[in-house]
């Protein structure tokens, strides 16, 4: 069989081109790799190489022809032993050859315009029951995080922690205190100051089957590493067709601390929540910090675990249980109420809780929901609450545009519009880089008064 040489597509977008020049003549011998012609694409002049060996039997499209469709027959090659004179017979005489040679993947066009089925839903289990009589121990968030890592490292030899100052210094914020002493330098690894590099090393180790906990001294520095977090950790499972993912936890303090100004004060909850393939956890209480960090370490996916420096020293009751693990993706109703729903997460909860106490004095019974996980987001819990209270406020410290609250407001308006008796109000940090001056910093963050005013507005008080 003679081989038809087709007009090639030589860029991702090319549909036709000009055949500017033939570099071989009819009757010439051709081997694979020989340049046989030049064509002009929409971008450049490109060479066409032969893929097969044989004799150029017939040039179908002469040099100088413009607008040659991709996949039109431009020449015919006679292979070994074929009659060169006969090889080209009948080819090129019927002009619409180009259309019949169209490649297969046309299905995409018909599918693209139809509505796409939504993602299948996954059920997430409720929190485990805490047996009656379980001792509750007052614990700081710092201790809870440390205990979670230590317990998981005892349980699984593939779990290790790496980061700046995690070992000998005992953690820049003392979250890894004592881990080096218990687990040794093989599993508690001090890295150089090299976020991009060690994030990638962590992801590579996770791809090889280890379960790294990568500590960023703060998430502000993780911006150096965000390519590895998103392009390597989050996307590989999908790009490999499910063969290979990255079971890794990236954790560290996130958001504004105090008086450290713009480069060290911002919340990344909304940033990472944008990315399919990541889970994003942002606990408020010590119990949630412990139960969710243990879950994050066991999770086979990359988990962004956003802590807060100011909360590290806060104490909460933590149940004294051998293995206290909480479900990622489940919100917690911090306080039930009937008049308004206040949704928050992380340090945002401090504003919500203080506001609720004052509102109670005004006779307003607010329900507070702590999201705990930002992705996957437990919208069902939020919507069930809105259906009861008919009013919604979202509080967070991050920037206002494309915030977590914006997304929740959008979803609630789509799924529970008829239940709303007032617009959803989102309270966020101000739309400015964090200032240094004490008074300006205070102004840039949300405050309790704003929450109270918002509740008054939606309850028409």
């Amino acid at each position: 069989m003679p081989i038809e040489i087709l007009m090639p597509a030589l860029s991702p977008t090319m549909e036709e081109g000009n055949l500017s020049k033939w570099l071989k003549n009819e009757g010439d011998k051709v081997v694979a790799g020989d340049v046989i012609a030049e064509i002009e694409t929409d971008k450049a002049t490109m060479e066409v190489e032969a893929v097969d060996e044989g004799t150029l039997a017939k040039i179908v499209v002469p040099a100088g022809t413009e607008g040659v469709k991709v996949n039109a027959v431009i020449a015919v090659l006679a292979v070994d032993g074929e009659d060169v004179d006969k090889a080209g017979e009948g080819i090129g005489e019927e002009p619409p050859k180009a259309e019949t040679a169209a490649p297969a993947p046309a299905a995409a066009k018909s599918e693209a315009s139809a509505p796409v089925a939504a993602a299948p839903r996954t059920e997430i289990a409720a929190d485990p029951d805490i047996p009656a009589g379980t001792e509750m121990v007052s614990t700081t968030v710092r201790e809870a995080l440390r205990d979670a890592m230590a317990e998981e490292m005892r349980r699984d030899g593939d779990v290790f922690v790496m980061g700046e100052e995690v070992a000998e210094y005992q953690g820049a914020y003392k979250i890894t205190q004592g881990l080096l002493q218990e687990f040794g330098p093989r599993r508690v690894v001090d890295t150089p100051i090299t976020e991009h590099g060690f994030a990638g090393v962590g992801v590579g180790a996770a791809m090889a089957g280890l379960k790294p906990i990568v500590e960023f001294m703060t998430f502000n520095f993780a911006m150096q590493a965000i390519d590895q977090i998103i392009n390597s950790a989050a996307k590989t499972l999908y790009m490999s067709g499910g063969q290979m993912g990255a079971p890794i936890v990236f954790r560290g303090p996130n958001g504004a601390a105090a008086r450290v100004a713009a480069q060290h004060s911002q919340c990344y909850a909304a940033w990472y929540s944008h990315i399919p393939g990541l889970k994003v956890v942002m606990p408020y209480t010590a119990a949630d910090a412990k139960g969710l960090l243990k879950a994050a370490i066991r999770d086979p996916n990359p988990v962004i675990f956003l802590e807060n420096e100011i909360l590290y020293g806060h104490s909460f009751d933590v149940p004294k249980l051998d293995d206290f693990v909480l479900p990622i993706g489940k919100a917690r109703i911090h306080k039930t109420g009937k008049d308004v729903t206040i949704v928050s997460f992380g340090i945002g909860m401090t504003y919500a809780i203080k506001a609720e106490a004052e509102l109670r004095g005004m006779g307003i019974d607010a329900e507070i929901i702590d999201l705990r996980t930002i992705r996957p987001l437990d919208l069902d819990t939020v919507i069930a609450s809105v259906k009861k209270t008919n009013r919604l406020i979202v509080v967070e410290e991050g920037y206002p545009q494309s915030s977590v609250g914006d997304h929740i407001a959008n979803q609630v308006s789509q799924r529970a519009f008829d239940f709303l008796d007032a617009p959803v109000i989102t309270i966020a940090g101000k739309d400015v880089p964090m200032p240094y001056a004490a008074n300006l910093e205070k102004l840039a963050l949300p405050n309790v008064g704003e929450v109270i005013e918002a509740v008054k507005a939606v309850t028409y008080r």
């Binding site: 490109m46 890295t191 791809m207 390597s232 790009m239 889970k279």
Partner: protein
């Protein structure tokens, strides 16, 4: 050559090679020459076919061909033991074939079909096989260097004697995370071979226009990582360097850099007309240094194979590639439900 690393103790020289010198090309047996010929030819024919399918519209997006560089992955593969890992960037088809991933699976991934190695969801630049210890296939220049260092970290953590072969190009060699990784690999004595495939052009920018230090074997000097320059067009030289480097890593000496001096015949990707270099330059490499022709000439000269026998090999390779192409063109596209799978476990 396997003992060269030990023979050359820390006689640190100022040339950045730390007392190491490039070994002589390996002496190949007849079987090794024939195997190298077949493996390189498979890559060459596969890539030519991929180029053709791209031209026909079966392969979309970016498609970076490995034609000209075949000796690098082929020679290095010959130095590996079971469990050694390989990772590279997006010019990855040759690496996958060298790691014995199925030609059908690779080609069907190029055409975005359900039988592709990533079920059609990765494409030319993103393929993986945990089973074959191939860790991608990465689209971001330089990212695979930190990841490959992480693979070596896992080897060291498990104390398993395996080595991570981390490939990158002369272009990636200027990325910051490469040096962050060098530092950690040397500090922690990780078993990683950094294989810099210097094909002389970072897309359209020649090494002399992009690199202050064009001897890439010196790039580890600040981190006490020795490096060697290797004739990457001679599969025997690559094999010898691979033996030395794997031995070096397995002995616990930490990382090593191999600068493979190679050349790509095609443009950076299918849509690159490669106007930044002369036709004569390309022609000279093809006619004087072609890795496959070198092996062929030796096989004929030593009377280890006749032209006809080599034609038979050629035919067998063509049949494998034709079968892969046939499969890749006719396999179904992924089921639409695949849109939502493999996002999280």
């Amino acid at each position: 050559m396997a003992t060269a690393a030990r023979k050359a103790p820390a006689k640190s020289k100022s040339d950045g090679k730390m007392g190491l010198s490039a070994p002589k090309p390996a002496e190949f047996t007849k079987d090794e020459e024939l195997a190298a010929y077949r493996h390189m030819l498979l890559i060459r024919r596969f890539e030519e076919k991929a180029g053709q399918l791209y031209g026909m519209g079966f392969i979309g997006g970016f498609c970076h061909l490995y034609i000209g560089q075949e000796a690098v992955v082929t020679g290095m593969k010959m130095a590996l033991i079971q469990g050694d890992q390989m990772i590279t960037a997006y010019r990855d088809h040759g690496h996958m074939l060298a790691m014995e991933l199925s030609p059908r699976g690779v080609m069907a991934e190029l055409t975005g079909r359900r039988g592709g190695l990533s079920r059609g969801k990765g494409g030319s630049m993103h393929m993986f096989s945990k089973e074959k210890h191939f860790y991608g296939g990465h689209g971001i220049v330089g990212a695979q260097v930190s990841l490959g260092t992480g693979l070596a970290f896992a080897n060291r953590y498990r104390d398993n004697n395996n080595v991570s072969l981390t490939y990158f190009g002369d272009g990636a060699a200027n990325q910051g995370q490469v040096y962050e990784s060098f530092n950690m690999a040397s500090l922690w004595k990780l078993p990683v071979i950094y294989i810099i495939e210097n094909n002389r052009y970072a897309m359209g920018t020649s090494v002399s226009r992009s690199s202050a230090e064009t001897d890439f074997s010196h790039r580890g000097a600040s981190f006490k990582i020795p490096g060697l320059q290797v004739d990457g067009m001679d599969v025997r030289a690559v094999k010898a360097a691979g033996d030395l480097a794997t031995e070096w890593c397995r002995a616990g000496n930490g990382p090593l850099i191999l600068e493979m001096q190679t050349y790509r015949y095609r443009g950076h990707s299918m849509s690159d007309p490669a106007k930044y270099r002369s036709k004569e330059e390309v022609q000279k490499m093809r006619s004087e240094h072609d890795p496959i022709e070198q092996v062929k000439a030796r096989l004929i000269e030593k009377k280890w194979a006749t032209e006809d026998e080599l034609k038979t090999v050629d035919k067998e390779v063509r049949d494998i590639v034709a079968d892969a192409a046939e499969f890749a063109q006719n396999d179904a596209e992924p089921d639409p439900s695949e849109l939502w799978t493999d996002i999280v476990l």
